[in-house]
């Protein structure tokens, strides 16, 4: 499926997506010249727990810098600052870029659904229904490298760290939850339905 990044302004809340776009521009191309030209192909594994259905959805992400700058002329400068940032900043760039890609995946896989809330202290991060006791949303994470193995570790956890999937299952106040995990090298992602 093809998706133009500037389409996010229509599919999602512009105030939320605006902040993630410079990070997507800074993070997705990576450092190597060979793979740094738009479009960027993400192999996204979509998993639905009922019946264990699994399918791979290729998302071909592209952007038109002119169209992006017509929305916000500061985007190229902000992307440049994020690209050249120090280590402490890079963590935030990865985080923001993963939110941006989650917005893209939500718009592609669930057309019409819009994120209306954002939480950082506890999962899920992006909420499309904030009804108290009945939250619906997406938990997001990104890794610069490690591919599917790194994403699996985030999902299932390790000896000392609980997985995000188990945390979401334990939450009785969350009615519907997805895991949206991204890696920039290699470019893979998962959109895992955790509940119901």
């Amino acid at each position: 499926m093809k998706y133009a990044l500037e389409q996010l302004w229509i599919d999602q809340d512009p105030d939320l997506v605006l902040e993630t776009i410079p990070a997507v521009l800074a993070w997705v191309p990576g450092k190597t010249q060979r793979t740094s030209t738009s479009p960027f192909l993400f192999s996204v594994e979509k998993v639905v727990p009922t019946g264990g259905d699994r399918m791979t959805v290729p998302i071909e992400l592209s952007w038109d810098e002119g169209a992006l700058t017509s929305r916000d002329p500061l985007i190229p400068d902000r992307a440049r600052r994020m690209r050249s940032g120090k280590t402490a900043q890079r963590e935030h760039v990865t985080e923001l870029a993963a939110y941006g890609l989650a917005f893209v995946a939500l718009s592609v896989l669930f057309p019409g659904r819009r994120v209306i809330g954002f939480r950082k202290g506890l999962p899920p991060d992006l909420l499309f229904d904030v009804t108290p006791g009945n939250l619906r949303g997406i938990e997001v994470a990104g890794r610069t490298r490690g591919g599917e193995k790194a994403l699996k570790d985030i999902r299932d956890g390790s000896k000392n760290k609980p997985g995000k999937r188990a945390q979401l299952i334990a939450r009785i106040d969350v009615a519907e939850a997805y895991l949206s995990l991204w890696c920039s090298s290699p470019r893979v992602g998962t959109f895992w339905q955790v509940k119901p």
Binding site: D13, D15, L16, E19, T20, P22, A23, R78, R81, M82, G85, K86, A88, Q89, H92, V93, E95, L96, Y99, I116, G117, F118, R119, K120, G121, L122, P123, L127, V130, P132, G133, P162, A166, Q167, A170, R171, I172, D173
Partner: protein
């Protein structure tokens, strides 16, 4: 109609996303601006929680975890520590498994940040030594310089702690470095705009640093709060005194009328501090004397219950009453903020 819960949560979400983007762009000023936004997001989350009539325990726990997290993201472990009690209380209302799943992310971060702050604070020995005294102004210039260096060192790592900016203001003002004092005070106020002392004291410092148009704008914004009955008594007091001071230099009957309204609004509220109540009463008496065409004397301080202040105030037989009141009121309001830092 959009319900207030959704509205406040939506607003908080946007503030957090913007703040995260500022952190990703890097730079010291962006870190401070991000801290301001995270503090605003914490207040939005609080408004969302307060707007609910009936709250499930898991919902209130989620809300206070998010508020606590916003303080941590906003480089303010002391703010997070204040909310931590609520997290522990609300966690007792849900199962241990659920509480663990909800707060595990917070726990790790909270402990790390608090340990880091404690380590840095205990290394700041000159600042730490002042703490039991209830004030963060060191007695000598040399000591104040050292305290300021220590405060700025802490702020470099934790630029979101409003009371550290307040302490920076207090020390800079004591050394007559008004530009630095103003910058520190404004930062404290931007991080915590609901703190009545930060805003009220801005009115006493502003005439020394702001040009007339900016000063008028600041006074107009304060008067708007007074008219809409949303100004705290401390702000009402400092506003009234600022108008009286301005009226001294150029006759302005409208300014005195605004001062009278400020006193009315201030006195109609409950006071946190007896001294603030007494200075508001003294201001009322001073305005009455002026409108009767009489020269106010020190008697108004006695009549307002501030007799104990007089013997220490001035050795002159007829001291400048307005200046005495301005200094005394500033001290009374400042103590409100100093208390937050004291042991």
């Amino acid at each position: 109609m959009i319900d207030p819960y959704n509205l406040a949560l939506g607003e908080g979400g946007k503030l957090k996303m913007r703040a995260t983007a500022l952190l990703a762009e890097g730079g010291a000023e962006n870190r401070f601006e991000a801290a301001v936004l995270f503090h605003a997001a914490a207040r939005a989350e609080r408004r969302a929680l307060d707007s609910l009539e009936e709250v499930e325990r898991a919902t209130s726990l989620a809300a206070v975890i998010e508020i606590c997290w916003c303080h941590l993201e906003g480089f303010d472990p002391t703010g997070a520590a204040r909310v931590r009690g609520e997290v522990l209380e609300h966690a007792r209302g849900v199962s241990a498994d659920l509480a663990g799943a909800m707060s595990s992310r917070l726990e790790v971060r909270f402990r790390r940040e608090l340990a880091e702050f404690s380590r840095l604070f205990h290394n700041a020995s000159a600042l730490g030594a002042l703490r039991p005294s209830g004030t963060f102004i060191a007695p000598t210039v040399t000591e104040r310089r050292r305290v300021r260096r220590e405060i700025l060192g802490l702020l470099d790592r934790f630029p979101g702690i409003p009371h550290l900016w307040w302490a920076a203001y207090r020390n800079a003002e004591a050394d007559e470095e008004v530009e630095l004092a103003w910058d520190s005070l404004r930062r404290a106020h931007r991080l915590d705009p609901l703190n009545p002392a930060f805003e009220a004291i801005s009115l006493t410092l502003a005439p020394r640093v702001l040009a007339q148009p900016e000063l008028s704008k600041l006074l107009a914004a304060s008067f708007h709060k007074i008219q809409s009955r949303t100004a705290a008594p401390e702000l009402c007091l400092q506003y009234a005194l600022a108008e009286i001071l301005l009226a001294k230099s150029h006759s302005d009957p409208e300014g005195l009328a605004r001062a009278r309204l400020a006193v009315d609004v201030g006195q109609a509220q409950q006071m946190r501090r007896e001294r603030v109540r007494q200075y508001l009463q003294a201001t009322r008496l001073l305005l009455e004397e002026k409108s009767a065409g009489r020269q106010p004397t020190i008697d108004i301080l006695f009549r307002a219950g501030l007799g104990d202040v007089v013997p220490y105030a001035s050795a002159k037989p007829s001291p400048d009453i307005v200046s005495l009141m301005t200094q005394g009121a500033q001290q009374a309001v400042s103590h409100l903020a100093d208390d937050k830092l004291a042991a």
